[in-house]
Amino acid sequence: MKHQVIVVGGGLAGLRAAVESAMLGADTAVLSLLYPVRSHSGAAQGGVNAALANMPECKDDTPAKHAYDTVKGSDFLADQDCAEILTSDAPVRIYELEHWGVPFSRTPEGRIAQRPFGGAGYPRTCYASDKTGLYILHTLNEQAVKHGIKVYNEWAVLSLARDGAMNHGLVAMNLQTGEIASFGADAVIIATGGAGRIFRRTSNAMQSTGYTLGMAYRAGVPLKDMEFVQFHPTTIIGTNILMTEGARGEGGYLVNNQGERFMSKYAPKAMELAPRDIVSRSIQIEINEGHGFPDGGGCVHLDLRHLGREKILERLPGIRDLAISFLGIDCIEKPVPIQPGQHFIMGGIDTDKDGATILPGVFAAGECASVSVHGANRLGGNSLLECVVMGQRAGAAAGNFVKAKSSAIQDAVLNDAVKKTSADVDALLKSDGKERLVTLRDTMAQTMTDNIGIFREEKPMADALATMRELRARFRDIGVDAKNRKFNLDLLRTIELGGMLDAAETIAAGALARKESRGAHSRLDFKTRDDANWMKHTLAHFTPDGARLEYESVVQTKWQPEERKY
């Protein structure tokens, strides 16, 4: 199987990239672990940012103000040229989604409705009730059907096929049959989403493992800023299913066990609509100081009752259903117990502003990539935006790359790659190794949640790094119990764990090395931001002995670092 462009992943970034490259005339296919509409983009709720100035309160909003909010929200780690691209492309991309059929909620004048979100100076978040991601995902899937894009459904990518100079395609496994095959591609775009399952408490899907970060890393592409992990302030206790930031955007309160709106202590102006890193820390402090509720290992309340039935049913019907299904609580009548949970990773596969990596023929876009537009902390509503803006740019870059490319795909490289990867899978199936998936996976996730969570310090992080390295060593002695190749979840999950351990190690190594507090990386032993020494990106390179860290300066255009006050 050969295509000019193969997009790995069928979520928002992947589908947007595929549509762009197909529109440029490149033979494009999508290879996805899930049917594309199953992707976790569909769980995004609150909305997508663009300075459309549609509401009476935001008539003087501009892309430049959106860029400034993004850079300040990033704690001055975002590359400012990239943040400007993100925000200036935003209106075009949102209007385009509307033209393709996304059913945005509407203002009385019939324009796209916008709501306030954290860290934003204006109501800038374009929304479709509280199911914005679902509707955009389905609309992009519809566009992929319209353009006749070939989709390889339920295929797991296993490795990239590269030689010394460039990439020639990939090797993947068909879950439905167990077949392992090579796919020639002049350009591969990795758009595989988040890595939340590296942590125990996460809002992410079961399939948001991030194992492909390990795949790219082992193929020689560095991972950038992996230590910056976002903990969403409001996830349902127990399952950590997301309660959208839109709930606070619509006026919801966070309340502790004293009945206080405690955000007045931490962000007196922005209150509940401070950026996520700040709100999550505030909640955790309340819980740690005994002002939380004991449920779910510690929580506070998200109180929406004062919004009233009508507003909740119109603007927030999805999260109401979720709280009823998973907690038996109707937010019209009772507050919802919530706690911070892993939600997003700002870091990822290192790319430039067109999604290109240092390996010719490999691009990346969306959550799995790090451009960086989010720096040390992403603003709510900027991730769906990153998916459509960077998806479009990566699709265009890949489409143009294959047009200009003079060399042919090397079959010998593909054959070697499929032989080697098949042998690895055969060996795993035949292994009499003592170690098993569940023990290693649970140790990883528990350690990452306990030791590299909202608050961090030297010793626990050093322990976590040592644990990840030990788990990596133990992984070499792993075996699988299920041997039948067809829809073998034991095999798939074991393969995924290998990549997750690589990614987890880069998170631990990057976090331990960074001796400052910035955005979501908050250290008890280095409490302030240190621009003189640490206003720089971390790049983790794979070596057999563990991650080798390098640093790269942040691109500044207009804005000098300042203290973040909200």
């Binding site: 389905h138 979840l489 034991d490």
Partner: protein, 238 residues
């Protein structure tokens, strides 16, 4: 301590087994545990060979539609507690089984593609958004919520048996565009659903409406399109 419960799960690999069998697993339920959590508990700790689909575990991705105690539901949002001490878990009925709870979705997606499931716009769009009033937008509220889980497709007495009948999911998708003021597919799309294998094939049994986890009524969508087809025919547009 609560009593243990028995989950009886459909097992079959058509390459190896001539007939399905039901394997029983006994577990200690935990408060708030869902059917999907129980399946993961079994996969993690008891039987690693079991196959099922799942991802978001929050009732939005549509992966985990299955037949639970005789009803099509999403495993992720179905609590164990109300289901009693003996729970029967089977794949979506009437669909070819690939393995255990994993069914072949090919026919489902083929039908989806047949209704031209995308906004059709003849005119060039304006520079900014097309205008649509909140009331106009409200008309598609119900039908944009479809997550394509195939619960309706599997329970319809015609759909899963017939490769030709478009079925409730694809027809509800078509209606999502028919009812959208921005869509200009008009008669072209109505022609697709007015075919012998379209809306007039529906026997109005309401199985789809009854078993939709998102409380959508494909039957309503089908009836509305029947009316639109008749109006188009009588007015000479079709």
């Amino acid at each position: 301590m609560t009593d243990s419960i028995k989950l009886s799960i459909y097992r079959r690999d058509p390459d190896l087994d001539t007939a399905p069998r039901y394997q029983t697993y006994e577990i200690q339920p935990e408060p708030g545990q869902t059917v999907l959590m129980a399946l993961y508990h079994i996969l993690d700790n008891v039987d690693k060979s079991i196959a099922f689909r799942a991802s978001c575990r929050s009732a939005v991705c549509g992966s985990c539609g299955m037949h639970i105690n005789g009803q099509n539901r999403l495993a992720c949002e179905t609590q164990l507690a109300p289901l009693g001490n003996e729970i029967l878990i089977e794949p979506l009925p009437h669909l070819p089984v690939l393995k255990d709870l994993v069914v072949d979705m090919t026919a489902f997606w083929d039908k989806y593609e047949k209704v031209r499931p995308y906004l059709i716009a003849m005119k060039n769009p304006p520079e900014k958004e097309r205008l649509q009033s909140p009331a106009q937008r409200k008309r598609i509220d119900e039908f944009i919520d479809c997550i394509l889980c195939a619960c309706c497709h599997s329970t319809c007495t015609l759909d899963a048996w017939s490769n030709d009948y478009l079925g409730p999911a694809a027809l509800a998708k078509a209606y999502r565009f028919v009812a959208d003021t921005r869509d200009e597919g008009g008669v072209e799309r109505l022609k697709i659903v007015a075919s012998e294998e379209g809306v007039f094939r529906c026997h109005t049994i309401f199985n789809c409406t009854e078993e939709c986890p998102k409380k959508i009524s494909p039957t309503f969508a089908i009836q509305e399109m029947k009316k639109k087809v008749l109006v188009a025919k009588f007015s000479g547009k079709m």
